[in-house]
Amino acid sequence: MLKNKNFLVKNLVNISIILIGVFFLVSSFSVSPGFQQVVGADQYPRWFAIILIALAIASIIKDIFNYKRGKFTEELPIIKEMRQVGPRILTLFGLLILNVFLIPYIGYFEAGFVFLALAIFALGERNIKGFLAALGYSALITLAIYIVFSQIMNIYLPPGIIL
């Protein structure tokens, strides 16, 4: 069973969900129930944590049955996408983290410009021409977003060095 990647990944997720359930269950004992509560602030999440653990175990049992009946042959979308375009998705995710990290330091629009330039470059042609095009696109888009969000709609966004 453990040699089947699909089965393994699906059940690693199920096990992670069980661990989340265990966290909520254990932590619920340190929550104050509140004053004169019949069902305290601790009990409601505790019961749902137990239900979550039970359901995730049921999901694992269901998957074992399905595996034994030869139903775990179709590749899971996560494995398929990671195999085909994993670096692209991970790059985009990494750039999102970088963007959020940069916002408090250089501002929303400046961090957005960096994000857009790198993301468009990563998703498009990876040569000098592609990089210059990405810079051009990101400058135009950042300006457009600045005009719409900050000037027209008056939405407050973290200010930066330039905008």
């Binding site: 509560q37 996560i78 888009i141 969000f149 008056n154 939405i155 966004l157």
Partner: protein, 501 residues
């Protein structure tokens, strides 16, 4: 009723509000028309933009986005054989073949007209039925609301995704995540790990943007280089012949009724409605063999049904506070974010808002018809020229801005990242995300009602079984769960028999 409609009309028929609705419908159409972007995405992304508006106007704009988003899907379905939204899948069956035969204009024209009529019928039914249903649900107390929450969660969990158990896992996870932060009754802090940003709880919209929008961007980035192939180079006449439309009256009424009925059911919605309506139209047709070859009946059935869903889906959302599908879950989140408590009390406390929403939907339906008939088709061919490598990062930028503007908190952006990761992981391993969102929405409502009930009864649970409405809802929940299990078992065993055969 009439005076209430006039109250709603007074709010909507202001030049600025009409302009907002026109913009909302247009943006909805754009999101619906671009394959990969959906009405849900449009609503989540633009919900923060409505924060500055009055709740009635904000909700009307969200309704316009919904109407546009559902209708826009037909354009790529007919021109590219790519449904813009899942609720337009059945439109491709006859829309694309008709376009390939050199009649894309004809396919679009009757598709647009059917959407308009289906939408109109759905909305009229909404205006007539919702207040009546609210009268019944006004008798509900905290007992019924708790069971109603369980009912909504189990139905949606069992009808979305491939596995009922996985759907329930997703819903329960949502309920648990909703308990993070301050307890709504006693104020006790729960599960914050000592992190201050979590003390205020998980903001619903932040979770939604992470789970749906960013996850969708990651998914779409997998086929960023795909090119669109149009069914036909030229557009034929867009003339609408009423003599032709007259022959479709029965089809329109039947399909709209199917859309309305399925829209009202939690967990169903446009995707199922357009298939069922198409199937029914084929079954009663004198020429069923022509379905799939480019017959107008197929387009009319699919399009009128998926637009009638809009009105139907609003009914449980505003009368019970139980959303019928993902889009109405976002609408419900919109109501909550605007400080309005959904449920039958809306018809007493916020009657202006309710009828402004209704009138807004009707106006958006008219705008949808006008926009699609005039500028949208040409705009669509232009919009598809925007490369996905540019479009996807723009959506991320807008998501970040939307997330920040909710509480002006950079910490929320980190929570967004966590939900984006969680959403991608769950979605790609077979866990449906809609039950999780529903768990996040219904979790606090269920908790409040359960604890209020228990306080009132001193811990006695028998009223749940002795109150007729509560007992009825318990029976309904158990029956629907068993029925779904049974139907799923039957379907699987049938598939196995076919495979063995």
């Amino acid at each position: 009723m009439l005076s209430n409609l006039l109250l709603g009309a007074e709010i909507i028929f202001q030049p600025v509000v009409l302009l907002y609705l026109l913009g909302g419908t247009f943006l909805g159409l754009v999101f619906g028309a671009i394959p990969g972007l959906t009405a849900t995405l449009a609503l989540i992304l633009l919900l923060p933009v409505t924060f500055g508006m009055e709740p009635a106007i904000g909700m009307a704009v969200l309704g316009a986005l919904y109407v546009g988003g559902i209708s826009g899907g037909k354009i790529p379905a007919i021109l590219l054989n790519m449904p813009g939204t899942p609720s337009s899948i059945a439109t491709t069956f006859d829309g694309y073949p008709l376009a390939q035969q050199g009649y894309p204009g004809k396919a679009l024209t009757y598709g647009i007209a059917s959407s308009f009529i289906g939408g109109l019928l759905g909305m009229i039914a909404l205006i007539l039925l919702a207040p009546q249903l609210a009268r019944i649900t006004l008798r509900f107390q905290s007992y019924e609301y708790f069971i109603l929450g369980i009912f909504g969660l189990t139905v949606v969990a069992s009808t979305t995704g491939d596995s009922i158990i996985d759907g329930l896992v997703s819903a329960t996870l949502g309920v648990l995540i909703a308990t993070i932060g301050g307890d709504p009754i006693s104020g006790a802090t729960r599960f914050t790990l000592g992190l201050r940003p979590l003390e205020g709880g998980i903001e619903l919209l932040v979770a939604m943007i992470g789970l749906f929008v960013i996850t969708e961007v990651f998914t779409q980035s997998a086929n960023v280089g795909s090119k669109y192939v149009f069914s036909s180079d030229k557009l034929d006449s867009l003339k609408l012949k009423f003599s032709v439309l007259k022959t479709q009256v029965k089809n329109l009424l039947r399909s709209s009724a199917i859309g309305l009925g399925l829209g009202m059911l939690p967990g169903a919605g446009g995707t199922i409605a357009n298939f069922v309506a198409y199937d029914q139209a084929k079954k009663v047709s004198k020429t069923p063999e022509k379905f799939g070859t480019g017959i107008l009946d197929g387009i009319v059935a699919a399009e009128s049904a998926n637009n009638a869903v809009t009105g139907g889906a609003y009914i449980p959302t505003i009368t019970l506070g139980i959303p019928g599908n993902t889009v109405t879950a976002v609408l419900l989140a919109g109501l909550i974010t605007h400080g309005v408590r959904p449920g039958p009390a809306l018809f007493i406390n916020e009657i202006e808002l309710v009828f402004a929403m209704f009138i807004g939907l009707l106006v958006a339906n008219v705008f949808m018809f006008g926009l699609q008939y005039t500028v949208m088709i040409r705009f669509f061919t232009w919009a598809l020229k925007i490369p996905k490598k540019v479009l996807l990062p723009i959506i991320v930028m807008m998501s970040v801005a939307g997330t920040y503007s909710i509480r002006y908190s950079v910490q929320d952006l980190w929570i967004l990242i966590v939900f984006a990761f969680l959403g991608y992981l769950l979605k790609k391993t077979g866990f449906a995300l809609t039950p999780l969102i529903l768990g996040l929405i219904l979790g606090p409502i269920m908790e409040n009602n359960l604890r209020t009930t228990m306080m009132a009864t001193g811990g006695d649970i028998t009223p749940f079984f002795t109150r007729p409405y509560s007992l009825g809802l318990i029976i309904l929940t158990v029956a629907s769960l068993f029925l779904t299990f049974f139907m799923s078992y039957l379907r699987k065993s049938r598939v196995e028999k076919v495979q063995e055969g």
